[in-house]
Amino acid sequence: STGGKQRNQNRSKAAKNQDALRVSNVAESSSTDQKQACKKHELYVSFRDLGWQDWIIAPEGYAAYYCEGECNFPLNSYMNATNHAIVQTLVHFINPDTVPKPCCAPTQLTAISVLYFDDSSNVILKKYRNMVVRTCGCH
């Protein structure tokens, strides 16, 4: 319909603006108690420490990573926030008790390759795709 819809739209727009304002107010307050922001942390896995250097030829170990930290509003400060994270954040603000905030998780993964002997002293070079975190972000 035309008029009615128009009026409805105006009203709903005002209400929405009101909501948006409320959301951003709530958001502001939560960003003040900002803990560690979501980012990538290194965790080095040493094959030598595991006593495996006799059968693993390369690498000596590898830099694994893990993602840790808060995904606080405004999300656009996280270069890696996925589009969905913004939706998740808004719905979280509307229903904070039931809908969780976006979580800090990998947004890009890379492969690593391992060179090792098998039981028969054959040598295996294997590529493991999506094995290591390249970037973290808010999902």
């Binding site: 030829i57 690498p59 840790e68 492969a111 060179l115 090792y116 098998d118 002293s121 294997k126 590529k127």
Partner: protein, 257 residues
């Protein structure tokens, strides 16, 4: 700042139980049922050195782009296992796994049936991890420079797949490849055995190995050693081996624990 360890992460040595758990987890990620215990593992042997070249080439490759390419053109080089270098023949850029196989023939049996020298090679392809298909395979043998022959002398080297063995007489052979080389040349000879390897993977009981024969320029059968070909008794970094490239045919999912 990026490398600071987050406060919730406690830095300490793993207890032995935790270490065993960690090992089990990583073995499961690597898709290994247990930790391998190779009996003879010389990292300076020809195959591990060749594979380490591949690993280094691939690691460089991974830094640049997601890919794994190994130039498949047989390369006759003058020094040890060639560095796997980028070439336009990115024949195997999506290989998930490369595997080298030790030659199982314990000693060079120079057969001299009816004036025909040849040398045998066997490789056990049964140990290929589940769900891998051979996309290419090659047999590599090193040729040394030999002083005793004239530089312009040539040898013809032929590689055969053994189809059937017979008691007391020559085996049935299928010619895979022939190469004519100069006596003065030195380096790795590479023979394509892709079809044979696929056949051996599909029908392991028909894996009767390879045979290598050498003929002098005037067609006489000759001892491969006199042509400078290094066998199982040669220096470790020049011993013959086989290498195969694989593509995963299924996604490896870890079992639920």
């Amino acid at each position: 700042l990026d490398n600071e360890v987050h406060s919730s992460f406690i830095q300490r040595r793993l207890r032995s139980q935790e270490r065993r758990e960690m090992q089990r987890e990583i073995l499961s990620i690597l898709g290994l049922p247990h930790r391998p215990r190779p009996h003879l593992y010389g990292k300076q042997n020809s195959a591990p050195m060749f594979m380490l070249d591949l690993y280094n080439a691939m690691t460089v490759e991974e830094e640049e782009a997601e890919g794994f390419s190994y130039p498949y053109k047989p390369i006759f080089t003058t020094q040890g296992p060639p560095l796997a270098i980028q070439q336009d023949s990115n024949f195997l850029n999506d290989a998930d796994m490369v595997m080298s196989f030790v030659n199982l023939v314990e000693h060079d049996k120079e057969f001299f049936h009816r004036r025909r020298h040849h040398r045998e090679f066997r490789f056990d392809l049964v140990k290929i991890p589940e769900g891998e298909a051979v996309t290419a395979a090659e047999f590599r043998i090193y040729k040394d420079y030999i002083r005793e022959r004239f530089d312009n002398e040539t040898f013809q080297i032929s590689i055969y797949q053994v189809l059937q063995e017979h008691q007391g007489k020559d085996s049935d052979l299928f010619l895979l490849d022939t190469r004519t080389i100069w006596a003065a040349e030195e380096g790795w000879l590479v023979f394509d055995i892709t079809a044979t390897s696929n056949h051996w993977v599909l029908i392991p009981q028909q894996n009767l190995g390879l045979q290598l024969a050498v003929e002098s320029g005037d067609g006489q059968s000759m001892n491969p050693k006199l042509a400078g070909l290094i066998g199982i008794n040669g220096p470790h970094n020049k011993q013959p081996f086989m290498v195969a490239f694989f593509k995963a045919t299924e996604i490896h999912l870890r079992s639920v624990r």
